[in-house]
């Protein structure tokens, strides 16, 4: 079916504003393939079913809408207490001076800009392939755009238990920056890796992360999307999870006029565990969309989706979550919960939970709720002398606790918790 002219025009206009990166033959081929995928799909429009709850207009404009740089003075940088390999990107460009030496036991780290110029690199069989797999059954054109045009990013290979986490820090300095980053991660057999991400990144940010977890591997991902109010972001995580392995991802989002976080995860090996969680905090002009697609294509695997949103002053939260259980994926244990705490009547939560099951011996459950603060609980706390605002914070933290609990590392969880508490105190 031919694409509507408007879609074609928008796609070409967007592409015209982007540089086409040069590179070695493999990188060139991967980018050309992605470009072909994109042209066949066209960029998303309001009428696309997958974008029913989120208007992609600002994400596909040729120029990034302006976003003021938010200077936070209330606390030091996130994760400073964590021993890590810090890699800094400023408006989507790697900043070697601000970064640590990308060296740690059990890790091989290279920069996409350099690796893509060399003929031989481990990532050459991965770059763009997981993204391409993620285009079926639902199209994700902004990810194809990313693969085709990204010039920077990191390629991380964990060959054993990584000595420390890799921390990707995204700074935003330019009010009209339009950043595209593409990371590729390979967790080899039996290896373990934690990747941290934080920061607003740019006025507009398109980020793609492909994660290949080999048998017996473990991948942990904890992300905090920055507090800049006007920033816009679309991010994709594409993962393939082998047997007896673990993939756990948590995202904290505070503020941002438009955020769409997609995860597409295929479980291809038996006895594996996939947890995807998120907490989003929005006050006012805030639109946050979690779109998750988990495919079970193996036996005896567990997947959890836990998403909590705290919304006030007209903020909007979206959740589209799907569990697909393929034929033969017996003993699947799938769980999905999405909940919104609406702190006033102007805020809204739009949820579309989906289960599609082709095996007969599975346990899958899903739930979605939205509600206000429990007045009875609030009174109980106040009757014990806890001031109303503090009581509300306690109940709000209790509400998001189930998502925070998904973070395994206590020190990292404490960092995330402190940001959450700080946000609540500033948004009473």
């Amino acid at each position: 079916m031919a694409l509507p002219q408007a879609k074609l025009d928008a796609t070409e206009a967007r592409l015209a504003a982007l540089p086409v990166p040069d590179g070695a033959a493999w990188a060139k081929a991967a980018r050309e393939d992605a470009l072909a995928r994109l042209r066949a799909m066209g960029l998303p429009g309001r009428r696309d079913e997958y974008w029913r709850f989120t208007n992609p207009a600002d994400l596909i404009l040729p120029e990034a809408p302006e976003a003021a740089v938010f200077i936070s003075t209330d606390y030091g940088p996130l994760y400073d207490v964590i021993d890590r390999v810090k890699l800094v990107f400023v408006d989507g460009v790697f900043d070697a001076e601000a970064s640590d030496d990308p060296v740690a036991a059990g890790l091989e780290i290279s920069r996409l800009a350099e690796a893509s110029a060399t003929d031989i690199h481990w990532a050459k069989d991965l770059y763009g392939t997981l993204e391409a797999r993620g285009q079926v059954p639902v199209q994700r054109p902004l990810a194809a755009l990313n693969t085709a045009t990204a010039t920077d990013g990191v390629l991380i290979r964990a060959t054993g238990k990584a000595e420390k986490p890799v921390s990707l820090v995204y700074l935003h300095r330019n009010t009209t920056s339009d950043a595209t980053l593409h990371h590729v991660i390979r967790v080899e057999e039996g290896a373990e890796l934690t990747v941290l991400e934080n920061g607003p990144a740019a006025a507009r940010f398109n980020k793609c992360m492909e994660v290949d977890v080999a048998d017996g591997g473990a991948f942990h991902h904890i992300r905090a999307q920055g507090r800049d109010h006007e920033r816009r972001a679309v991010t994709h995580m594409f993962a393939r999870v082998g047997k007896e392995s673990t993939y756990k991802s948590f995202t904290l989002t505070a503020n941002g006029v438009l955020t769409r976080n997609e995860q597409f995860i295929e479980i291809t090996g038996d006895n594996s565990v996939v947890h995807v969680a998120g907490a989003a905090l929005g006050d006012g002009d805030f639109h946050h969309d979690d779109t998750v697609f988990i495919t079970h294509d193996a036996v005896d695997c567990e997947s959890r989706q836990v998403f909590k949103k705290v919304l006030r002053n007209g903020a909007t939260g979206v959740f589209q979550g799907k569990i697909l259980v393929k034929p033969g994926a017996q003993k699947t244990d799938g769980y999905q919960i999405s909940q919104a705490l609406l702190l006033d009547e102007d805020s809204q939560f739009l949820a579309k939970p989906e289960l599609e099951i082709y095996a007969d011996d599975v346990a899958c459950s899903h739930g979605s709720t939205s509600g206000a603060i429990d007045e009875t609980a609030l009174f109980y706390l106040r009757a014990r002398g806890i001031p109303k605002s503090l009581a509300q914070d306690l109940l709000t933290l209790a509400f998001v606790a189930e998502a925070i609990d998904e973070i395994e590392d206590d020190a990292i969880a404490a960092e995330i918790m402190s940001r959450l508490e700080g946000w609540l105190q500033r948004h009473r």
């Binding site: 009174f379 109980y380 706390l381 009757a383 002398g385 001031p387």
Partner: protein, 251 residues
């Protein structure tokens, strides 16, 4: 201590009067009991005094050590020394019992201009007090009242009372849902807090709680008013003859 004068209260949502002129004075060091049939307004009185939404005071006053409490927010009343042991303690998933109690103790201290209790001192205090009430470490760690039995919830109320050390304690049907052993445990907890500087108002249907918590004064409430006041013998009269005789007598 607690001084209630001619208190008239209606429900906010519907035009229904519940309290029709309650007069009551509780002195420091004394235990007052309020008994009365269902619907007489006993629980409403406890809610209005603690500041729950949904009630409108149309006439009268209530003061705690001379301060008008009806004008205060619920947390201000608590900091002023008022404590309500709930008939139905509320379950709060996700908020740890210990966190809750420490936040409450420190919030009250802060409101009174006192220093916060150190984590170590708090832990020491709560462990000792929990032990007296047979509250184990697990109950302290769990979310507030979540998965607690009826008796555990009531013991948890008394633990809060013991930690917050209020001046004026109101116990709203604390005996409901308790077996004899649990009631004794709760009563022991309350008795341990009896003190010359502290007043108690014990709201109950039945005399049996008053066997364990011996009142100084007993009030009978009916149709939104205190209709009779007497000594502990009044509670026995209710136990033996029911409310009908007393109500007929005052009608």
């Amino acid at each position: 201590m607690l001084n209630i004068k001619n208190l008239h209260v209606s429900l906010e949502e519907e035009d229904k009067q519940i309290l029709r002129g309650v007069d009551l004075e509780v002195h420091a060091g004394k235990v007052h009991a309020i008994m009365g049939p269902n619907g007489s307004g006993k629980s409403t009185l406890s809610y209005v005094l603690s500041g729950r939404d949904g009630y409108e005071v149309t006439e009268g006053s209530a003061t705690l050590e001379g301060a008008d409490i009806l004008d205060m927010e619920p947390e201000e009343r608590a900091a002023a020394g008022l404590f309500l042991a709930f008939q139905y303690p509320v379950e709060i998933p996700g908020v740890g019992n210990m966190t809750f109690l420490r936040t409450a103790v420190n919030a009250q201290r802060k409101a009174r201009g006192e220093d916060e209790v150190s984590a170590a001192d708090f832990l020491k205090q709560i462990r000792a007090k929990a032990k007296d009430l047979k509250i184990d470490a697990d109950m302290l760690k769990r979310a507030v009242n979540v998965g607690f039995s009826g008796g555990e919830k009531k013991r948890n109320e008394i633990l809060q009372m013991a930690m917050l050390e209020p001046k004026m304690c109101i116990l709203d049907e604390t005996d409901s849902g308790l077996d004899v052993d649990a009631m004794k445990l709760v009563a022991d907890g309350v008795n341990a807090l009896r003190d010359a500087g502290r007043g108690f108002l014990v709201i109950t249907h039945y005399q049996r709680l008053l066997d364990h918590i011996k009142p100084d004064v007993v009030h009978i409430m009916a149709d939104g008013k205190i209709v009779k006041t007497g000594g502990p013998e009044l509670a026995l009269e209710v136990e033996n003859n029911g409310y009908a005789d007393i109500l007929a007598e005052v009608a």
